[in-house]
Amino acid sequence: MKHLLDTQALAHRDALAILDTAEEMTAVSSREVKKLPTLRGRTVVNLFFEDSTRTRISFEAAAKRLSADVMNFSAKGSSVSKGESLKDTVQTLDAMGADAIVIRHSASGAAAQLAASDWTDAAVVNAGDGTHEHPTQALLDALTLRRGWSRAHGENPRGRNLAGMRVLIVGDIVHSRVARSNVWLLRTLGAEVHLAAPATLLPYGAETWPVTIHYSLDEALREAPDAVMMLRVQAERMGGAFFPTAAEYTRRWGLTDERLALVEQLRLGATDSPALILHPGPMNRGVEISAAAADSPQSRILDQVAHGVAVRMAVLHLLLSQRQPDGSLDE
């Protein structure tokens, strides 16, 4: 694995290697010394052409916990606003000695283009490209689901996938790279994926995805999912009218207090532990998720944030320690 561009092409083996590594990385944040020397002397560049404070600081925290040097490049107020091309920007960063480039861009495929180019030798991590993919978000969701499932079943999470889990993703699928990355990754890991969304917020061709689609949230909840993932209503990506009003959306598609009562009845597999509520953040409280649902004991939203740092540490570690085909010996 040289780059992490998407989850669609991510092999089961590599996904598990990332999750197992991340599992150990979660322990680092509870230690007295919250730092590992692994990437000492390496440079990670956060190249953000789109605003995203949460993802950027998560990558920054991950790189710093591994002792890498971090450079943050945001398009606003930079040479990009003066008209510099992606190629020139990247070649400039390469000349400064970047070992990994974490890129967030509004164009789908920007990360893949960078990885395929000869502009840089750096490892490329896709931190969200247009409406295409956001692989580290899906990986942190998978880590959260696996930990919740394993804890409920009293098992060691290491090495296991998500077989046996039913995950419901609700809301704005069409604009959501998080949903796309999750669909591919959760399927690779053996989970059953259900989507619930208004027809206007489902992408063209979604019926060919390996998922079950529901046009009613209440109907989808009756399928007894083990986890419910609420997506943010992305007002900034909606030029047109995808639904009549926010209140109408909440009434039909929001995790309201009434629906929370239903979700409270759901269980993780055959255990007594309650089902999980996830949200990639930032939340629109009162729109797609009620305050009571967001703060409920079933909510794993803050765990997701902590797991985000662990997953990104794992990805940077695995991309920046080289793999050699001969596989040297462990002695």
């Binding site: 197992d20 150990e24 322990a27 007295e32 590992l36 692994t38």
Partner: protein, 187 residues
Amino acid sequence: MTRSPETATVMTAADIDRALTRIAHEIVEAQRGVGELIICGIPRRGVPLAQRLGAKLAAIDPDFDPVASVGSLDVTMYRDDLRNSAARTPEPTQLPARGIDGRTVVLVDDVLYSGRTVRAALDALSDYGRPQAVRLAVLVDRGHRELPLRADHVGKNIPTSRSERVGVRLAEIDGLPAGEEQVVIIR
């Protein structure tokens, strides 16, 4: 044409058990009182060896509590060869809840070779606390040190050439019957 590798058994299951028993006695002798002792295995094969040492220590001195005093310390993220070796998935680090500050930590590994794993372990340990002393117990010392380190307790010194490999086959890791455990040299 490739020749299949030649292997020679240098320790049998009984030899391994005897060596661990002797090391356990040496550890007790070197340490006045076992109450402050922490036995810490380096994954992967150091971990079951540490657990066996813990059981033997408890048999020698009932003051030794294996549950509260045996742990594992993963060193993957502290290695100095990450750039030119295969990416590894770290193994769990589980140190006893009472911590390592002011105690004597005995690091346990299967094979001592270049000494780089032990160096990484010393770095890792210092991120968890400040032990009063750190000692090293290994099942096999095969020589060819690249760092100024030595083991305090050695199961067996096995002279090797650099082209040879030493394989330690343990029941817990390699899934074989306890009686078939062995240490082999692969030429």
